[in-house]
Symmetry: C2
Subunit: 105 residues, 2 copies
């Protein structure tokens, strides 16, 4: 299982646009076979900062996601609204280990 | 619902100690009434870096967690192994919104 945490910092004035575009991309991503979860979160301290917490069954599923139309369209749409490059970190679980614990009910 | 993402950077040579202490704390935390999830993750790029992805029903549940013996013992135990202060960010969900999507099965 592959878990990714991505932080995004959006320019002032574009938060609503970013949320709308990301909600569409989020709904599409959940339909992808290898996607276990995609939590789309907003900082309570600074509403221009977001976290994407995503889990996939395998590296191949992440590769599929990154080549999907939904991702490419979203990436190009939000590019102009980013205050700085997104930062992604790949993680492996220490606990719990079972992939069913990361999958939406 | 309250979601918290905490990054921890551990000194070289203390990663195994940190994992052992945190696994114990993790198991205790899951027994707390208001805890929905606590994903304990290790960076695939740098094994001295960790992420805690925690969800609680309410602010009161987080307060309970922070005053619990397990947390206080863990905090004091790991203090000497931290390479830098932990960074925590409080988040609110944009999607999905339902707390059942954050709770372990």
């Amino acid at each position: 299982m592959k878990i990714s945490a991505v932080t995004a910092h959006v320019k002032e004035g574009f938060v609503d646009d970013f949320i709308a575009a990301t909600l569409k991309h989020h709904a599409n991503t959940l339909k992808e076979k290898g996607n276990l979860r995609f939590d789309f979160l907003q900082s309570r301290k600074d509403p221009t900062r977001f976290l994407f917490y995503e889990a996939y069954e395998s590296e191949a599923d992440i590769e599929f996601h990154r080549q999907a139309d939904s991702y490419l369209t979203w990436r190009d749409t939000v590019e102009k609204w980013m205050a700085e490059p997104r930062q992604g970190t790949p993680y492996k679980p220490v606990a719990p280990l079972e992939s069913r614990m990361y999958r939406y009910p």
